[in-house]
């Protein structure tokens, strides 16, 4: 998953593809930290409905989010999806400031080359969605982890340090 994307512009765009709600999503490989089979997860007390639970991923606690609920398309997160994919974006503070989130998914298609012809996403706003395209005559939605992580719901609250 962590393979570097091809830089040759004559080739297609390397993306990690996954499926949720029957739609294929693509995300840049450098924004993918890994994926896992959901054997066990911990429900989060008092969490909003889009947080299905939390898992330990490489000794870090990661929230599992259901994008359908996060985008307001469904009312409640689905806990029985078989897989999750962990997205991460590096902040300014180096490795320690990587923001990560897990997305519940139905299927992981893995790394694939898709055509570079993508259109900017212009439908009603969905955090993280930047472009749309087609692959094998099916819709392909491009997700940016960096854009997703800028959603205020995933940002830390402002805190005031000691005087």
């Amino acid at each position: 998953l962590a393979r570097k994307p091809e830089s040759d512009s004559s080739m297609g765009l390397s993306l990690v593809l996954f499926v949720r709600g029957g739609v294929t999503y693509g995300v840049r490989p450098e924004e993918v930290e890994g994926a896992g089979r959901l054997k066990d997860f911990t429900p989060v007390p008092g969490a909003p409905p889009y947080v299905v639970g939390a898992v330990q991923f490489r000794s870090r606690v990661i929230s599992l989010i259901d994008l359908m609920v996060f985008w307001g398309l469904e009312m409640r997160g689905v806990a029985d999806l078989p897989l999750y994919i962990v997205l991460g974006t590096r902040g300014e503070g180096g490795a320690s400031s990587v923001a990560r989130v897990g997305l519940m998914i139905e299927e992981l298609e893995g790394l694939a080359e898709v055509g570079r012809q993508l259109d900017p996403y212009q439908a009603e706003p969905r955090s993280g969605v930047t472009h749309v395209g087609r692959r094998d005559n099916k819709a392909l939605v491009i997700l940016s982890a960096a854009a997703l992580m800028r959603d205020p719901r995933l940002l830390p609250s402002t805190t005031v340090g000691p005087a």
Binding site: D40, T42, P43, V44, P45, G46, A47, V51, A54, V55, Q56, R58, S59, R60, V61, I62, S63, E92, A95, S96, A99, R100, V101, R153, L154, L155, P156, S157, P162, A163
Partner: protein, 731 residues
């Protein structure tokens, strides 16, 4: 260079060494980089570090270095957008400047000012470059401009044996940081985290092995049951051989699991040690802060320390530093009197602050005491009325203990003058908040004319904690054990009461499920367990579905979207790959808790014993014995400190050594007997001297009991303490 300053310089040198390495690496990458964004990122990193060095150099009065760092920053300013490539010659110049800066700092630390390379010409050369380069057209970006000549690089202290040796002893740790040439290395915390992750993976292997051993055990049970008997009747030899092999496999697996667990435990201990730093590392900056502030307020004071070799989690200590510095300045502003004032009060003109650190179970107790004027409770009450916190009648009735709590109210200050750092209404509330965020508590005791003691209690480690595990619906939840007053089952089928009397106080029994807005109905099942939690002076009670017992847990940070949830303090990794969310006792208790009224809770207050001995071993031994018997124990390393504790902490009994520095045990008891409030206080003198003459002296001084140290092992101390306190209660 004075010792405290040298310690700060050592820290600075170590920090610059690390920052220089990163800057150097970035500069090299910068020179090789072709992408605008990459260049911009590298430049931002370099500029950040250079700026930090500049600020620290300025604070330490290293003006030449400050100027060089400023020129360094300015030289890179035209390139910050990443549009222009940084010329190779400039990169070389900057790298050379780094070497000079390091040599300059090293010589300063060594106190060898003549070995400091001049930095002025370098700064000037870099400044000249700035002027030339900012006006250069973009077309000229690849053409390196001639740069002013640079001074020769300083000699490398590692390869040059002629350079004076460092004055730092090789084994001297400074804030967990080590200089070059020591036989230890600095470890980046990211590496420690990586090691932690590897350990986690190994823990999962252990769990998997345990499961395999369980499978083997179940298979053996099958063979011992009817199925095994059937198999044995068909082929006895085969069944026996199978049983033996399974036995061997199960024994082998169990042995492997035990071996792995032992090795994991050792590795975990090692990692914990790597994460800790002695409190000593803070002392230099506290002394410096005290010295500087004393100069600015025109007072004199010194800081004595004891027990500061105790190591705490490095991150905890870093977070604690600001709070301790504030308390030190606060003591100077509000506690320590002026030189004239101290003379008039027949005190040493130099005020004394004492920082004592002691391990108490899985927590560290840090006390910062001063021998100043103490807190004026009358002034506190008047000020509270003035600020509208209390009406005059309430203020009149307010006990001293409650009045003391007012000083932690936001914006509360009785200081008549406002100083730069304290006495401006910002401070003690922030200290309590900051310490609370570390799962710690702050309390204060004071006695007019004698002094004030701030007591901080903190976990030894941020990552390890003891927790009570409970289940509510499908949620496995962890509650910090230090917040749990008790947890118990109601009698079977007994309905959950609306209120519960705890410490003489009726508490409303909440449903934890409802408090956390969990799915499902509020848990009030008859016979369900009830937990009672405490935070500061508040108690709360709640019912849960199931008590799962106490566990040692590894506390993990939670992602920002979960950290926003007020009831969560973190996540507890349970060692078998499972997680339980760690609840914030503070959030739960502050939201729903009932303040315990001192009057009602009086009978529950533990009897307080002051133990005074200059030997930490004896102090700890006495403390452990007395604490195990349910007493609250305060310790002091000499008679002066002990006397102050007796006055400020309103103790019930003294246990003291005879031979001690500053004020010996006999003099301490004599002084007690001359104080109206301590006149009747039981005093036990414990001594290695056991002649009739020694006993007579103790009796003459006013000791209530005399115990030779040899008798200690026979449990006599405890029985004497019990007897004397029982006598005191009945009288």
């Amino acid at each position: 260079v004075s010792d405290p300053l040298r310690e700060v310089l050592l820290l600075f040198a170590s920090e610059v060494s690390e920052q220089s390495a990163v800057i150097g690496e970035s500069l090299v990458k910068l020179e090789q980089s072709t992408q605008t964004t990459e260049r911009k990122d590298q430049l931002n990193q370099v500029a950040r570090y250079a700026h930090t060095i500049k600020g620290n150099a300025g604070a330490l009065g290293l003006n030449e270095l400050e100027e060089l760092a400023h020129a360094f920053e300015s030289a890179l300013a035209p390139y910050r957008s990443g549009e222009l490539a940084v010329p190779r010659l400039l990169v070389q110049q900057l790298l050379s400047a780094l070497d000079h800066a390091q040599a300059y700092i090293d010589a300063t630390v060594d106190g060898d000012m003549s070995a400091r390379p001049p930095l002025g010409p370098l700064a000037q050369a870099l400044s000249q470059h700035v002027i030339g380069k900012t006006e250069a057209p973009a077309a000229a970006r690849s053409k390196a401009e001639p740069l002013p000549p640079m001074p020769p690089p300083p000699p490398d202290p590692i390869s040059n044996p002629d350079l004076p040796a460092l004055n730092v002893p090789a084994s001297e740790p400074v804030g967990g940081l080590q200089r070059r040439g020591d036989d230890t290395v600095r470890v980046l915390s990211a590496r420690l985290e990586e090691l932690d992750r590897q350990l986690d993976d190994a823990r999962e292997v252990r769990v998997a092995l345990e499961n395999r051993a369980d499978e083997a055990r179940r298979a053996l049970q099958l063979l011992d049951g009817p199925a095994g008997i059937r198999l044995s009747s068909v082929d006895h030899e085969f069944a026996t051989a199978l049983r033996e092999r399974l036995h061997g496999l199960q024994r082998g697996l169990s042995g492997d699991v035990a071996e792995l667990a032992a090795r994991l435990g050792a590795a975990e201990d090692g990692l914990r040690t790597l994460r800790t730093v002695p409190v000593d590392s803070l002392v230099a900056s506290l002394r410096r802060g005290l010295w500087e502030h004393a100069q600015s307020v025109g007072k004199r004071a010194e800081l004595a320390v004891s027990g500061t070799d105790l190591a705490l989690d490095r991150r905890l200590l870093e977070a604690l530093k600001t709070s301790l510095l504030h308390l030190v300045r606060n003591a100077l502003d509000h506690g320590i009197e002026s030189v004239e004032g101290r003379r008039a009060a027949k005190k040493d003109p130099v005020g004394r602050l004492s920082l004592a650190v002691e391990q108490r179970g899985a927590r560290a107790q840090i006390t910062l005491s001063d021998d100043g004027r103490g807190i004026d409770f009358k002034a506190v009450r008047v000020h509270a009325v003035k600020r509208g916190l209390l009406n005059p009648a309430q203020a009149e009735r307010l006990p001293d203990e409650a009045a003391m709590e007012l000083i932690f109210e936001p914006g509360f200050s009785t200081a008549s003058t406002v100083s730069r750092t304290s006495g401006r209404g910002v401070g003690l509330d922030v200290v309590r908040e900051s310490v609370g965020a570390l799962d710690g508590t702050v309390s204060v005791s004071s006695s007019m004319g004698v002094g004030t003691i701030f007591t901080l209690s903190l976990p030894l480690s941020i990552t390890a904690a003891q927790a009570l595990l409970v289940r509510v619906h499908r949620h496995l939840l962890a509650i910090p054990l230090n917040a749990v007053v008790f947890a118990r089952h109601l009698p079977a089928k007994a309905p959950v009461p609306d209120t519960l009397e705890v410490e003489g106080q009726p508490l409303q029994v909440h449903s934890l499920s409802a408090l956390l807005s969990l799915d499902g109905a509020a848990t009030r099942t008859p016979g369900c367990p009830i937990i009672v939690l405490r935070h500061r002076d508040r108690l709360m009670a709640a019912c849960v579905d199931q008590l799962l017992g106490e566990r040692d847990v590894v506390v993990r940070a939670i992602p920002p979207e979960l950290a926003k949830l007020p009831a969560l303090a973190g996540a507890a990794a349970l060692g078998d790959g499972k997680l339980a969310f760690l609840l914030s006792a503070r959030a739960l208790v502050d939201r729903t808790g009932t303040v315990v009224r001192p009057g009602k809770a009086q009978e529950w207050v533990k009897r307080r014993v002051v133990v005074c001995d200059d030997s930490i071993t004896t102090r700890t031994l006495h403390r452990q014995v007395l604490e195990a018997a349910g007493y609250e124990v305060e310790t002091a390393a000499d008679g002066e400190e002990g006397f102050r504790l007796l006055k400020i902490k309103r103790a019930d009994l003294l246990v003291s050594d005879v031979r001690m520095p500053r004020l010996d045990g006999l003099s301490l008891v004599r002084r007690m007997r001359s104080e109206p409030d301590l006149k009747a206080l039981p005093a036990v003198l414990v001594s290695s001297l056991d002649s009739p003459e020694d006993r007579r002296r103790a009796e003459e001084a006013g000791a209530t009991a005399f115990l030779p140290k040899g008798h200690y092992e026979r449990g006599e101390l405890l029985s004497i303490v019990k007897r004397l306190l029982a006598d005191k209660r009945s009288s």
